[in-house]
């Protein structure tokens, strides 16, 4: 840090832009993934200007092939698949982001408490083990059938099975940091427990958490599509990618475009998120990347 400010001014003036460029060249996966994600976010935000009404029925234009008027074709009710896919981007990104934030936050709290307090650990971690034993989709279906289907319930139902995974990761980090002498030094200099957790332990969990959050996000988007496909996810009136695929399923032999385009978007989105995740893992946590 000190050497940078002390260096010649010419070097400091051109180094930020140059540095960013070399960084980008070295981290192609992060840059590529981020660009795709940014494009998806723009599409989601500008959906009303990019596409027509995704719910408008045009019985005369049923099951039309992709053409100049209907870029991605139409479904069995004559709705524009392109509009539905564009609006579906919103749903997928909202669900991915909300689940990632919710599951990461709760998992973080549970993991830190478990790693720090032995008694909490024995109780909460057994609960987490139990939750991990139930397949995520089954748990989500059970939760959704118990309550009225809505976007909010879907987010909650997908988040719950992700919590134990995050909690386990955080707990392992906390356990490894806990034994370090600087934590003992903090204890013996009279630091309160919550302060030790926030000031000395939490910063160590940030890097693995960011990486984990990207995976949670990707898997949440896939789970939502899976749930909607099974008819247990987002209410059918909301055009999520899973819903579009689910409705097109019965006609896929005569109108494959109905499931092809939302499927493709799903794949691209998950791929982009995983690219970012992998790249972040490599830069933030070099030890893990070498092991994998």
């Amino acid at each position: 840090m000190a050497t940078m400010t002390a260096g010649p001014t010419a070097a400091t003036a051109r180094s930020p832009a140059k540095g960013a460029l070399t960084w980008a060249r070295r981290n192609k996966t992060i840059v590529g993934g981020t660009l795709i994600l940014l494009a998806l976010v723009v599409i989601a935000v500008l959906a009303p200007w990019l596409a027509g009404d995704p719910l408008q029925f045009e019985p005369t234009n049923r099951l039309k092939r992709p053409s100049e008027t209907f870029w991605f074709g139409t479904d069995q009710f004559g709705r524009d698949v392109y509009s539905r896919v564009v609006y579906g981007t919103r749903i997928s990104l909202i669900i991915g982001l909300c689940v990632a934030v919710l599951a990461t936050f709760i998992g973080l709290v549970v993991g830190v408490l478990c790693g720090f307090y032995k008694t909490v650990d024995t109780i909460l971690m057994r609960l987490m083990d139990g939750m991990m034993a139930i397949p995520a989709i089954l748990l989500a279906i059970a939760l959704i059938t118990l309550m009225k289907a809505s976007l909010f319930i879907v987010i909650i139902a997908i988040s719950i099975p992700e919590i134990p995974r995050v909690a386990r990761l955080v707990r392992s980090v906390v356990l490894s940091v806990r034994g370090r002498p600087y934590i003992e030094a903090a204890i013996s200099s009279g630091t309160r427990n919550w302060r030790i957790m926030v000031r000395h332990i939490l910063p160590n969990t940030v890097a693995p958490l960011i990486v984990q959050a990207t995976y949670v996000c990707a898997s949440a988007i896939l789970t939502e599509a899976g749930l909607s496909f099974l008819g247990a996810g987002t209410p059918p009136e909301i055009p999520s990618w899973g819903n579009v695929i689910s409705l097109g399923r019965t006609f896929f032999q005569i109108a494959p475009w109905i499931i092809f385009f939302p499927g493709l978007c799903l794949a691209i989105t998950v791929l982009a998120i995983n690219l970012v995740g992998d790249g972040l893992r490599d830069t933030l946590d070099p030890r893990i990347s070498r092991r994998m």
Partner: protein, 335 residues
């Protein structure tokens, strides 16, 4: 010095670690890391704990600070029994008792600046904030011989000796009466060791600090100690003033330790004692005197009788059957 108030009084301290085995992790044995240790430290005094690795000297230090929960015994700090205090009451008492750690690299949080590290104890006890906090941190840096401008640096930007100075500044921050130093110089270069030791001595004179100084290095102990306690297998075998212990050791184990230390003196030293065998397992310590298995002067009764730590001469305590109270201190002979 003996008239000064007692800062730390440890009575019959024990720390046994359970050994778990098998699928059900049953407790199959206990490692008797510390088994009945008693001593006092007065204001302005340094008590050194010496011994081989594994003799329990670090465990004594960690039990006193309650980083390990003691199995039995009592610890009194300035007259307050802290052995069984609850976490908040114990936290309040920690202001009087700070610790300096062995490894100056891992005992400082790499993500905090030097000023934050040294200021943390002050914030913990709400002793200062804002400009006052900065002023006190700068003063602490000066006390330990660091430049006050260094507060914004991070630990990796300091050398080993400077980092240990940071550790000392952190311990000093809340004006404790006792500093427990667990091998504070053994990770440092020899040239830096002397500087840090002299800093500790200067600070002791300036603030009337009491030190519990754990070390395996007899040269260091001779330099800094007022009194020295020699530990063997979880017990104190000899406790005496510095000059007495190094000039006229009474316990055969102390003699062996002193004989094993390299020395430049060519004068007539006592006869060299070379110990045979290894230290017995603290899981299953020998009966009677714990040292009898390796003692060249052991008598048959040493196997049965556990010798108590007795004051055989003023201020000189030793746990050996062959050193009765009022004995002459002459060299022992093999029976």
């Amino acid at each position: 010095m003996s008239s000064a108030e007692v800062v730390l009084r440890v009575r019959d301290l024990k720390k046994h670690f359970p050994v778990h085995r098998g699928v059900l992790s049953r407790v199959v044995a206990h490692v008797q890391a510390v088994d009945g240790v008693s001593f006092e430290i007065r204001r302005g005094e340094t008590l050194c704990l010496v011994g081989e690795s594994g003799c329990g000297k670090s465990t004594v230090a960690r039990s006193i600070t309650r980083l390990e929960e003691p199995t039995a015994g009592s610890i009194e700090l300035n007259g307050v029994d802290i052995t069984a205090l609850g976490s908040e009451a114990l936290r309040a008492q920690r202001r009087e008792m700070q610790m300096v750690f062995q490894d100056p690299y891992s005992s400082l949080n790499p993500r905090l600046s030097a000023g934050d590290i040294v200021g943390e104890p002050l914030t913990n006890f709400a002793l200062a904030q804002g400009a006052e906090l900065e002023r006190r941190i700068a003063a602490l840096f000066e006390h330990v011989g660091l430049r006050p401008e260094a507060v914004h640096k991070y630990p990796h930007e300091f050398s080993g000796g400077q980092r240990q100075r940071l550790g000392i500044a952190r311990a000093l921050a809340v004006n404790p009466s006792l500093i427990i130093a667990d091998e504070p110089v053994s990770a440092l270069d020899v040239s830096v060791q002397a500087q840090v030791l002299n800093l500790l001595i200067d600070l002791q004179e300036q603030f009337e600090l009491a030190y519990l100084f754990v070390s395996h290095d007899l040269a260091v102990v001779e330099h800094i100690g007022h009194r020295v306690a020699v530990m063997y297998l979880g017990r104190i075998v000899e406790l005496a003033d510095n000059a007495d212990l190094f000039g006229a050791p009474l316990h055969p184990y102390t003699e062996a330790l002193l004989a094993a230390a390299p020395s430049l003196e060519t004068g007539a030293r006592r006869e060299r004692i070379i110990l045979q065998g290894d230290v017995p397992s603290p899981m299953n310590p020998p009966s009677g005197c714990r040292f009898h298995t390796r003692c060249p002067f052991a008598l048959p009764e040493c196997k049965q009788t556990d010798p108590p730590l007795l004051e055989v001469a003023p201020g000189h305590h030793v746990a050996c059957l062959r050193r009765p109270v009022g004995g002459d201190g002459a060299p022992l002979t093999t029976a």
